[in-house]
């Protein structure tokens, strides 16, 4: 159990990402799918931030521009903002759909299997 490296984080991210994908494909209702999308975005965030820490020795040898190693963290902030907005719009639609028509199943005709 050596020191923790970039790979460990990437593995963690990958596992969470796959769990998110499984969640999306196995669920039918809008809220469930939305939750799984959040999982995927989150998994990507782990990767982005992990790199910030291990930036001066990336897997691919490169000459780093100054402070590019922080880009991942900045990107992660943007992703969180985006997740918030997407959730807000999605929940508004879901709520409205439910209020007016009484269902949140989005998958009547099996049309949106990924």
């Amino acid at each position: 159990m050596g020191p923790i490296g970039l790979q460990h984080y990437l593995v963690l991210g990958a596992i969470l990402f796959v769990l998110g994908v499984i969640g999306i494909v196995s669920r039918k209702n809008a809220v469930g799918i939305l939750i799984s999308i959040e999982l995927m975005l989150n998994a990507a965030n782990i990767n982005l931030i992990a790199f910030s820490r291990y930036s001066n020795k990336p897997i691919f040898p490169t000459t780093m521009p100054e402070a590019a190693y922080m880009d991942g963290q900045v990107f992660a902030i943007f992703v969180i903002i985006l997740a918030a907005c997407e959730a807000a719009v999605a929940l508004a639609i879901i709520l409205n759909l439910f209020n007016m028509f009484g269902t949140i199943e989005v998958d009547d005709a099996d049309t949106m299997r990924g």
């Binding site: 159990m1 050596g2 020191p3 490296g5 970039l6 790979q7 460990h8 984080y9 990437l10 593995v11 990958a14 969470l16 990402f17 796959v18 769990l19 998110g20 499984i22 969640g23 494909v25 196995s26 669920r27 039918k28 209702n29 809220v31 469930g32 939305l34 939750i35 799984s36 959040e38 999982l39 989150n42 965030n45 782990i46 931030i49 910030s52 820490r53 291990y54 001066n56 020795k57 897997i59 402070a67 880009d71 900045v74 990107f75 943007f78 969180i80 903002i81 997740a83 918030a84 997407e86 959730a87 807000a88 719009v89 879901i94 709520l95 409205n96 439910f98 209020n99 949140i104 990924g114």
Partner: protein
């Protein structure tokens, strides 16, 4: 070593809770597990010396977004439609895509683990000040775009969330979500 312990703790917790998110058929539980998962991921961020992101994760993600989720799910429950999943399990056919993807990523994991473990550096980047500076210098366009996204999200939520209340000619207005 402390980082090791922190990482494994957080990682196990994250994987476990996330699995529960996917497995459970109860929407409220799913959201609650997701919140736990987000806390675990925040711990992962901490282990990466990114305290600012860890806080943002907890405050914004777990605190605001997830509470919104919870609110909606509970409201749906209140009105008789449970946000839960139908009882039927996914069929084998539906599991092909994630299965294949999981396999693909497994290969990736093996390959990248065999590439060796670089040592951790960049201790300095726990500094939120640097992050702030970067946000408003190098990435100011991103901040601007995030602002636009937030604005659009607000307008969109407001517009669509207006439901059937305006204009009055529309069918079946909802006056109260709890009726």
């Amino acid at each position: 070593m402390a980082q090791n312990i922190l990482f494994y703790l957080a990682a196990v917790m994250a994987v476990a809770t996330t699995s529960m998110v996917v497995i459970t058929r109860n929407a409220v539980y799913a959201v609650l597990y997701l919140i736990m998962s987000l806390f675990a991921v925040a711990l992962v961020f901490l282990s990466l010396n990114a305290p600012f992101l860890a806080l943002v994760e907890i405050i914004v993600y777990a605190g605001a977004i997830m509470v919104l989720f919870l609110f909606v799910v509970m409201m749906l429950n209140l009105q008789g439609q449970r946000g839960d999943e139908a009882t039927k399990r996914p069929t084998r056919r539906q599991m092909i895509v994630p299965g294949a993807l999981a396999l693909l990523l497994l290969i990736l994991i093996v390959v990248s683990l065999s590439a060796g473990t670089p040592a951790a550096t960049n201790a300095a980047l726990s500094d939120p000040k640097l992050l702030g500076e970067l946000l408003f210098t190098k990435h100011y366009l991103g901040v601007k775009l995030s602002g636009i996204i937030l604005l659009i999200g607000t307008i969109g939520g407001l517009h669509i969330g207006r439901g059937g209340s305006i204009p009055s000619t529309m069918e079946k207005p909802i006056d109260d979500v709890t009726h």
